[in-house]
Subunit: 243 residues, 2 copies
């Protein structure tokens, strides 16, 4: 009988992964920061450089860290060029890259409905912020978003803060609330446009729309955002890959 027989056995590199994740949760290193070098981390955790390397390899594969040869290893941030399209899967059919512009419709404080509350691990009725916005490509409205985040994690969020922020919403969440989105699950359906959506998206009622429901997670797989996007997919598609 040795420690490896124990049911709670985890390889060293996995324990290092957890320790690094805990430092990310604690905010010791924030998005965009460089983390210590592999050798420094090895000394700190009392393991070999190779073991730290394997832990970082996996975190880099999950897009939580980013390695740059010669420079160091950095905490992934949504305030980076490459990140702009990381969670935006709607793209032009002709392949031309284009980033949408956002028109903020409303920011309200509400009681969480059952649907989003359960997915965010909140009690139904817990306080949330509800953000509504309209994304346009080439000035043409394409996506109507409704976004729910727990008020407790986003204290002080308001309309003006978002309106004045130049970058993406996730970049905003990072810089103002220290919450980095690292993973998301989406459920997609085809639905008919109702009267409100039809008007905002400039489409006839009953127009088929993509309904994209998302739950996004931060470090430690903690769900912190629910959103529903309604997308008019004329000349645009939701693009994904599998292997």
């Amino acid at each position: 009988m040795n420690i490896h027989s124990s049911p709670s056995f985890r390889p060293l590199y996995d324990q290092i992964k957890i320790l690094i994740t805990q430092s990310l949760i604690a905010g010791e290193w924030r998005p965009g920061d460089a983390i210590p070098s592999e050798i420094d981390l090895a000394a700190r955790f009392k393991v070999s450089q190779g073991t730290v390397r394997k832990a970082i390899d996996e975190l880099a594969a999950e897009n939580i860290l980013i390695r740059r040869q010669g420079k160091g290893t950095f905490v992934a941030s949504h305030s980076q060029e490459r990140a702009s399209t990381r969670f935006l899967r709607i793209a032009r059919d002709d392949g031309v890259a284009e980033y949408p512009t956002s028109r903020l419709l409303s920011v309200t404080r509400e009681r969480a409905p059952e649907a989003s509350a359960s997915l965010l691990d909140l009690r139904t009725g817990a306080s949330i912020f509800c953000i509504k916005r309209l994304l346009s490509f080439e000035g043409v409205p394409r996506i109507l978003d409704e976004i729910h985040v727990p008020a407790a994690s986003f204290k002080g969020l308001d309309d003006a803060m978002i309106r004045n922020y130049p970058g993406s919403l996730y970049s905003f969440f990072e810089s103002h609330f220290g919450i980095a989105m690292i993973r998301a699950e989406e459920h997609i359906k085809a639905v008919k446009a109702g009267p409100i959506e039809a008007e905002l998206l400039h489409v006839p009622q009953d127009q088929p729309l993509l309904r994209v429901d998302r739950v996004a997670f931060t470090y430690g797989d903690r769900p912190v955002e629910w959103r529903r996007g309604l997308c008019h997919t004329e000349r645009f598609s939701y693009v994904t890959e599998m292997s």
Copy 2:
């Protein structure tokens, strides 16, 4: 100036990856087979075991190989339990796992239309097989598929062969034609059901449907299948994840 400065420089493990892929293309190891052990491959390629290991690690991360501790490393196959849902992203909203049944509608030989030909690297008008089928969950039709594959790569394919085959279509392609699908790209839109789809899917005309266009690739990133699926997403969703 050394070889590492050369523009064509590739790390050793990457070259090993290519060599392994070439053996897969050549059919030296077929889906389901065990490949030689890391030590044997290291001897064969005249590199260290660690380098072979890194190459296999990456191929395993791409779901091309599968490692099984104590047993060996195997070529991924669609004729495996775990593979059944690998390329099927439509799932019940309540999360209950369920595999659809298939009704084959037709298998015809046709001239490739421009759309699928260009995506499959064929001339427009090249000979293809066109497979139409209807997938049902709990006996309820949900997905209408139209599938194009190059006739040159699927010689002798016909109606009866598919009908008599017990497993999935990709499993069938593997066992009868030695073509393994390892990756796919999908473009998704919301569209209205036309008269034909409406009847087959038991929905009213103009019902919103998910239209999922796929190109699937085999070893060496060679495109070998185009398909269009029309999905009725009542109580079902297209599920995906991102990070």
